[in-house]
């Protein structure tokens, strides 16, 4: 047994696992076994080459100061939404809205796992387990085994307003492990919003099952806290003609790794995953990692990855994106773009785009670039009287536009754009 496996076995001993009903105990035990087999990640693992897992797996998280937003309202505050609040990873019923709504059932994870029979049984840890192959994601298995809170959401119709998960951070040493399960029934539609600093260390898994013809929109804002460490996983399974769209804005954060694992099982489905990350090393360390794995195992499915990063003062960006097209996944349309804008020589970006294609009638493309601000464009703008800092911000927002365009709702897109603009204004020079 190697050290990582020993560690893994130790942290997931049966006594340590949260108490649940029978089916959930089984699911947690399965996850614990998976983790013990895989071992915790080490830098020798191919997918952890550029992101150090050490601080994510340390027994005790590094403390992270609670960020002072100086009165800035939380992202999405002006959007009519159903808000569910977690404080340092613990559900806060008082701060949350009433969880009932037309076409939607929301329960706390603990209530779902306590029930003998529950629909979430077919998903909890199930999509995560499917996503472990061919690339191991030990921290997701850890989450399934150890999650202490979360929500399970079942959507049966078109929900009138977005559901917003708001993660508040109040304790400088909190170590939050949340696990959500979302099931969109046939033809159902949901927009999920996520924001907030969450915890000193935040582990989150979200399993999303999108049934035939259903539509799932996800917009997430991470930041502006400087010292957080976060490891998040999204596992999605897509049915026939379903739609999955996920956008993440990340600003600041010592270490953030967002993994997104999508499996197309139904024909003619669409999945878009996008991200816009802004990091300034002057705020403290910044390391942002987007790791995506998309498996096309159905006919005529379309996937699109658009990831943009703006980095300066030693900020680091990582992108690992893979498109796997199975032999029968004909007419697949796979697109992947990952670009970074390095505002100075100290910033760095590592990218590993991968295509693995076994079908012969597909369109797949990928492009990864990193570059500096376009001096020609900058001069052109300045020659029209636009001061250098405003011109630079304009060009940065233009660079991010492709990713932001992936947000379908104009109001939410405008909100994200405003936040990015404000961040840039605070980080000039």
């Amino acid at each position: 047994m190697n050290t990582a496996t020993k560690q893994a076995t130790a942290v997931i001993s049966a006594e340590a696992r949260p108490v649940s009903g029978a089916w959930a105990q089984d699911a947690r035990a399965d996850a614990a076994r998976r983790l013990a087999q895989m071992g915790l990640p080490t830098r020798r693992d191919e997918y952890w080459k550029w992101t150090r897992p050490d601080s994510l797996i340390a027994a005790v998280p590094d403390a992270a100061a609670v960020f002072d937003y100086e009165g800035e309202p939380p992202v999405f505050h002006q959007i009519d939404r159903l808000t569910i609040v977690f404080v340092d990873g613990v559900f806060d019923a008082t701060a949350s809205d009433d969880l009932s709504g037309e076409g939607i059932e929301i329960e706390r994870l603990a209530d779902a796992t306590a029930a003998d029979i529950h629909w979430a049984k077919d998903l909890y840890g199930v999509l995560e387990a499917r996503g472990q192959n061919p690339v191991a994601r030990p921290l997701a298995a850890y989450n399934t085994a150890m999650a202490t809170d979360g929500v399970v959401i079942r959507v049966t119709g078109e929900v009138s307003r977005p559901v917003s998960l708001f993660y508040r951070h109040e304790d400088a040493t909190s170590d939050a492990v949340l696990h959500h399960v979302i099931r969109l029934e046939e033809g159902a539609k949901l927009t999920l919003l996520e924001n907030g600093a969450a915890a000193a260390r935040f582990s989150k898994v979200c399993e999303v099952d999108v049934a035939d013809g259903a539509e799932f929109h996800h917009i997430r804002a991470q930041g502006r806290d400087h010292e957080r460490q976060a490891i998040t996983h999204m596992f999605a399974r897509l049915g026939v003609e379903s739609v999955f769209k996920s956008f993440t804005m990340t600003v600041n954060g010592r270490l953030t790794r967002n993994e997104c694992v999508i499996e197309f099982l139904g024909d003619d489905a669409t999945a878009h995953v996008a991200g816009a990350a802004l990091g300034d090393g002057a705020d403290g360390a910044f390391h942002h990692d987007d790791t995506v794995f998309i498996t096309h195992d159905a006919v005529a499915s379309e996937s699109r990855q658009v990831f943009k990063k703006v980095l300066k003062n030693g900020a680091k960006g990582v992108f690992q994106g893979k498109i796997l097209v199975k032999p029968d996944a004909q007419k697949t349309d796979g697109y992947q773009k990952s670009q970074s804008l390095l505002l100075d020589d100290d910033a760095s970006f590592q990218a590993k785009p991968e295509l693995e294609i076994y079908a012969d009638d597909v369109i797949c493309s990928h492009g990864s670039t990193s570059g500096a601000i376009d001096e020609e464009a900058l001069f052109y703008l300045r020659s029209r009287g636009v001061p250098a800092h405003i011109a630079t911000d304009l060009l940065v927002l233009a660079f991010l536009a492709d990713a932001i365009d992936e947000i379908e709702d104009d109001t939410i897109a405008a909100e994200i754009n405003d936040r990015l603009d404000a961040w840039l204004a605070r980080h000039r020079g």
Partner: protein
């Protein structure tokens, strides 16, 4: 309006002198043209005046209404009233033409201590100007110069000039890449802006643009200097005989 005295400029990166003592004065209300063979330094002059990186002034000076241009940042020169219509307008994906223009107009107003233009006023203003230049609403919405034809790019330059209302307009080979109709449109746009308070410096290879934008003075530039100045007839002479005669004559005089 614009005064250039004994301007010597070299490339920053290499020891190559491009301007070798340019003297030029363009008074308010006048249109001056600069003609000259390739490599004579015409475009360099326009870039140095507008503040592009990559050049080093080794001697001489340039002032706009008495203000030292060469000490200013590009945006300060613009706010002071200088405008360069680019030979190759830059494409800026992701920045809408309208956003770009509104940002520019308001930045200049702010720099001059004037009030910013409201969105409604701006819209009214730009629509009127765009109509004159046959620029449709679609073109205003598109990203700056992206997917524009050569003629559209040049018309867009003139639109910017009309919106920013500069005092000193430099047109760098605005006729290049234009067909006859587009040249007429662009020239009409320029002519509409001619007035007593504004001066133009039109840089061109060919006399044909000067049929539309009638200059008061024509300068011939060669090897980094103004070698000859005269009335509009000088442009006709170039058109007929090329630069060789003039250059030969200068050699003789020298």
């Amino acid at each position: 309006m614009l005064k250039i005295n004994n301007l010597h400029v070299k490339l920053e990166e290499e020891d190559k002198r491009i301007l070798k003592g340019v003297d030029l004065e363009v008074p308010a209300g006048s249109v001056h043209a600069i003609m000259g063979p390739n490599g004579s330094g015409k475009s360099t002059l326009s870039y140095v005046l507008s503040g592009r990186d990559g050049y080093e002034v080794i001697e001489g000076n340039a002032t706009l209404e008495g203000e030292d241009l060469l000490e200013m940042e590009p945006e300060e020169r613009a706010a002071a009233g200088l405008f360069l219509a680019f030979q190759y307008p830059v494409e800026i994906p992701g920045v809408g033409n309208m956003t770009f223009l509104r940002t520019a107009v308001n930045a200049q107003r702010k720099a001059r201590g004037e009030e910013e233009m409201s969105a409604a006023d701006f819209l009214k203003f730009i629509r009127a100007k765009a109509k004159e230049l046959k620029i449709d609403a679609e073109m205003l919405k598109r990203p700056v110069n992206v997917g524009f034809s050569g003629g559209e790019k040049k018309r867009n330059e003139i639109l910017q000039m009309a919106m920013l209302e500069p005092k000193m307009c430099i047109l760098d080979e605005t006729d290049s890449g234009l067909d006859v109709d587009a040249m007429k449109l662009v020239s009409d746009g320029v002519n509409a802006l001619r007035d007593q308070g504004r001066a133009f410096l039109v840089i061109t290879h060919y006399q044909r643009l000067l049929d539309h934008i009638k200059p008061d003075v024509v300068h011939i530039m060669a090897d980094g200097r103004i070698v000859k100045s005269g009335g509009p007839e000088l442009a006709l002479e170039v058109e007929t005989n090329g630069y060789a005669d003039i250059l030969a004559e200068m050699e003789v005089e020298a």
